[in-house]
């Protein structure tokens, strides 16, 4: 047994307090409070858990011991992407989201939590400018969830069931979406051309299936980093058939790339991890869904939406929930899908990020990403036996095929890891998905290319 202790987290275990409180409620023991829990359900032994680390010294030493067994992407040279990205995270973003008031708040009223409402309204508004759309939700869990919802919205809005998948989609995202939409939608795939949708095939399919297509679903950049250049034609085709265009995108490129809405997208969705969030081992994602200010669309959103409201004092910005009666919090199973605790703080982070970046920051970042991507593509493609899977416009990610080198993608990864480089994500036997961002220098990229080149050289053809 340990010594009896009053834990700093549990004030009223202090013996005098506990006794006084028991007396105040007229109980002789805590056990009385559990009268309703029948004996056969009661655990008759202490939980089998490791002994407590009571002092912060012991706790921190233990946690450091564990976490120091990790090697971070600050310590190796990483070209990993595929959903989680290493971008510059301005210190001000983290200062704001680590403020006690934001970090520990939950669901106060618009009065006492005015800051949260304004910060999230601003997030919605800043995203809206980037996207050129008038309505953006308080973030949902992640881009996977956002996509699932965007597609089911399209199903509900059109009353149809078929989703045309026209881009290369991350297989995990596809797995999630498939299970999510199962009761409502069928996914039909039209194989892409790598650098983008096979527009002719899409057009042909849509015109043949005009009555049943709920939406055309485009991802740009695609799983392979390819920027879709034919959005307008895809939109027109969808609209002509009475279907919608749902576009999944990463807003990081929208300082230089045209917003999908400009090209006809009806629902735009994706993940905001790139906008001011660290990688967190893949555990810091948040999903956005944007629509035009059309009540039919707005009323299909399951998420919370914060809107401006006036107060009794002129010039005071009040806030509140827009159309709360849509939600499951208000009407349970009759609400749109469901809403609960989601990813608000990440939304605040993305808002701070966009406020700091401004138009010039986003434009410059977009340019840097395009330039670094192109540079990396060129450097890797110059290695004998290495070829680009496609030569379209890429933002941040692209696929190289190493079959010509006699190496598998896994070989490349394994060997380079030994040299302090994570060269990318294995797509299949011979293909590797490489990611570069603004954090990489030309020296970093040259080092990657150099190491692969020398590995290729070492390899007997």
């Amino acid at each position: 047994m340990t010594e009896p202790f009053v834990h700093p987290y549990v004030p009223n275990t202090a013996p005098r307090t506990r006794a006084a409180m028991l007396e105040a409620v007229g109980a002789t023991s805590i056990d009385e409070f559990y009268a309703d829990c029948p004996p056969e359900l009661r655990l008759d032994r202490p939980l089998d858990l490791p002994a407590p680390l009571l002092s912060e010294t012991e706790l921190v030493r233990h946690m450091d011991g564990l976490l120091n067994r990790n090697v971070s992407t600050r310590e190796v040279l990483s070209f990993l992407g595929a959903g989680t990205y290493q971008h510059q995270v301005p210190a001000v973003v983290e200062e704001v989201i680590n403020r006690s008031e934001f970090l520990t708040a939950y669901a106060g009223e618009p009065y006492e939590d005015h800051g949260r409402f304004q910060a999230l309204f601003q997030y919605q508004s800043l995203m809206a400018e980037l996207l050129n759309m008038d309505v953006v939700n308080v973030p949902t869990y992640d881009g996977f969830q956002a996509t699932g919802t965007a597609l089911t919205m399209a199903g509900r809005l059109t009353g149809r069931q078929q989703v045309l998948v026209v881009s290369d989609v991350h297989p995990d995202k596809l797995a999630k979406v498939r299970d999510y939409v199962r009761p409502y939608l069928d996914l039909v795939h039209i194989t892409s051309r790598g650098s983008g949708a096979d527009v002719d095939a899409v057009l042909a399919h849509v015109s043949k299936n005009a009555e049943i297509v709920a939406c055309v679903w485009v991802e740009t950049p695609s799983y392979h980093g390819a920027v879709e250049t034919e959005l307008r034609r895809l939109a027109d085709a969808a609209h002509e058939a009475g279907a919608l265009l749902v576009v999944g995108t990463d807003p990081i490129g929208l300082g230089v790339l045209a917003p999908p809405a400009d090209l006809g997208a009806d629902i735009v969705c994706g993940d905001i991890q790139s906008l001011g969030l660290r990688q967190w081992y893949g555990g810091a994602h948040a999903g956005f869904i944007a629509v035009h200010d059309d009540p039919r669309f707005v009323m299909e959103l399951p998420s919370r939406l914060f809107g401006l409201a006036s107060t009794t004092v002129p010039g005071e910005y009040g806030f509140g929930d827009v159309a709360f009666e849509r939600t499951s919090l208000a009407i349970r199973e009759d609400g749109k899908e469901w809403v609960g605790t989601a990813a608000a703080l990440w939304g605040i982070a993305a808002g701070v990020y966009l406020a700091l970046m401004g138009p010039a920051g986003m434009a410059e970042l977009g340019e840097t990403l395009l330039a670094h991507t192109r540079y990396a593509m060129d450097q890797l493609a110059a290695i004998p036996g290495v070829v680009l899977a496609d030569d379209g416009v890429h933002l941040r990610e692209f696929v190289v095929d190493v079959s010509g080198t006699g190496l598998s993608a896994t070989d490349v990864v394994t060997t380079l890891r030994g040299r302090g480089i994570e060269p990318g994500v294995v797509v299949d036997e011979h293909r590797l998905l490489v990611c570069v961002t603004e954090v990489h220098t030309s020296q970093d990229i040259d080092r990657l290319a150099g190491e692969i080149a020398s590995l290729v050289k070492e390899t007997p053809a």
Partner: protein, 523 residues
């Protein structure tokens, strides 16, 4: 006047920070920069040329996004001011957010997680370079299994509702695997279970049957018996419900559902009062879920990121989402090879920072500490119950005279009948004292409701302060009702008009929509 200073009055004279800040777009000044980004080096520029100009027609953004242009310190100042206009659980006695378990999120856990050794890990990096975080996942799974009595636990879900969804998806897969997918079309839940139980079931394609409480506040067992059939896929239920009443016949409920071939899923988001007291598996549940952001102390973050954990019996384990963390005695690794799995429910493995925080919290307390948490949460709740029931006009419907577990749904119905003041109005006035409460989820089965859950985190003095505030506002409702009706008075903003929020013609969900609709501005 001079020293000594008079004693302080019983209630604090509070005023929330009020900065009267503009909307961030109004702070824009052309040319200012908040942060600079790395630019292509000359070497890169030379190699690739003007990549933006080279974009195909239609792909290039024609005009820059109309984001504001603001220098760094001003952005910071704006958001810091907003932060002061947000209460936060660290700042107030947050017992009014009942059913949300607003407990202390220890600062040491923030210190622990904020290291590049966690924040800068990529999910697809070599497993050999992620052994620390993988071990935390693995250990936390085992701890939650012990706490729930379940065999395996998935940490993937991003929140409590997401974990409910995961459980429903597993239920669906389970019945499908047994060839009963088409037959089992109904899910049963109770009106006092969180609305996400009903909503997730509906979204998964089920018809939802909702059981209401009997006169004692327990879910009506006869209604359950009437509801079950060979169409029953599952019962989704919590216990204690948000009334804080523990259903002593919960095992019977589970057995009834099992009797018709259905599964039983336990919403353990309300587990704070029963840690180490009883396990979900003891009552026969096949699935359960915890909210790490409630019971296990991870901060609520303005409404997420959260984290949900789904625990299942061995029978359901094959359906858990992937990948799971396994240990070969030497290394921790991710097992993706799970053919019956429902697949992915989230991009990677779960909300890492919260998983690590929850692990650290359990480690700081141990078994004895967790039990102290539960017992103290319950003591605090029954103490606050006593204090509230002493306020004329307040009541705790159902189970009168009985003890509650960790929370209580109260009612101001009597006060309302006497004064016409509503619970919502009282809540706004409570804000003037630096505290708050919420009513509860709709529908308001309890009239004029408010829901308090003191958790283990607050001292007796703070519970007394909270009760004193309620008593004072109840007194005002009788004596100076206008003060209550026009509240708040000492807050960041004043009474807000919510009428525009439901009118599509007028609602303003973004600044651009506001400018367009109300000032005719067009981009």
């Amino acid at each position: 006047m001079s020293l000594p200073i008079a004693p302080k009055p019983r209630l604090r004279r509070f005023h929330q920070a009020r900065w009267d800040e503009p909307i961030i777009f109004e702070l824009s000044t052309p040319g200012e920069r908040g942060v600079l980004v790395p630019r292509p080096e000359p070497k890169v520029r030379d190699a690739v040329g003007d990549v933006v100009a080279a974009l195909p027609e239609g792909v290039r953004r024609p005009t820059p996004p109309r984001l504001p242009e603001i220098a760094q310190m001003r952005v910071l100042r704006h958001y810091l001011r907003l932060s002061q206009q947000n209460l936060g659980a660290d700042l107030n006695i947050d017992v009014g957010q009942g059913t949300c378990t607003m407990k202390y999120s220890p600062k040491v856990n923030e210190a622990v997680i904020n290291t590049p050794k966690l924040a800068d890990l990529h999910p697809l990096q070599a497993e050999a370079s992620a052994q620390g975080v993988l071990e935390v996942f693995w250990q936390l799974e085992r701890m939650l299994a012990e706490i729930s009595g379940m065999d395996r636990v998935s940490l993937h879900s991003a929140a409590g509702s997401a974990a409910i969804w995961t459980n429903v998806a597993m239920i669906r897969a389970y019945h499908a695997a047994r060839g009963e997918g088409d037959q089992r079309t109904e899910v049963i839940t109770t009106i006092f279970s969180h609305p996400s139980n009903a909503a997730c079931a509906e979204m998964a394609g089920y018809d939802v049957i909702t059981i209401h409480p009997d006169a004692d506040g327990y879910p009506d067992i006869d209604a359950l018996k009437a509801a079950v059939s060979d169409r029953t896929a599952a019962l989704l239920i919590t216990n204690p419900e948000d009334t804080g009443i523990f259903n002593p016949r919960i095992r019977e409920f589970v057995d009834i559902v099992h009797g018709v071939g259905g599964l039983a899923a336990y919403d353990q988001a309300n587990a704070n009062g029963i840690l180490g007291i009883t396990q979900a598996r003891a009552a026969g549940f096949d699935l359960c879920h915890f909210n790490l952001h409630k019971t296990f102390s991870t901060p609520h973050a303005c409404g997420g990121p959260a984290a949900g954990a789904s625990g299942v019996s061995a029978e359901l384990a094959p359906f858990l989402p992937g990948p799971l963390v396994e240990y070969d005695g030497d290394h921790f690794f991710l097992d993706h090879n799970r053919p019956q799995s429902i697949g992915k429910v989230a991009p990677f493995y779960g909300v890492t920072p919260n998983i690590v925080r929850a692990y650290a919290w359990i480690r700081a307390l141990g078994a004895e500490g967790l039990r102290a948490v539960a017992e103290t949460a319950v003591l605090n709740n029954n103490y606050l119950l006593k204090r509230v029931l002493d306020i004329p006009g307040a009541s705790a419907p159902y189970a009168s005279g009985r003890r509650r577990i960790e929370q209580v749904r109260y009612s101001w119905q009597e006060l309302h009948e006497q004064t016409g003041v509503t619970s919502e109005e009282i809540g706004l006035r409570v804000a003037d004292f630096g505290a708050h409460y919420w009513t509860s989820h709709h529908p308001h089965v309890v009239p004029q409701p408010f829901t308090l859950e003191p958790t283990e985190s607050y001292s007796k003095d703070e519970l007394d302060e909270y009760a004193d505030i309620l008593a004072e506002v109840a007194r005002e409702a009788r004596e100076t009702p206008d003060v209550v009706r026009t509240a708040p008075h000492n807050q960041t903003v004043h009474h807000t008009h919510h009428d525009d929020l439901d009118d599509p013609e007028r609602w303003a969900i973004t600044w651009r929509a506001y400018r367009r609709k109300h000032f005719g501005e067009h981009p």
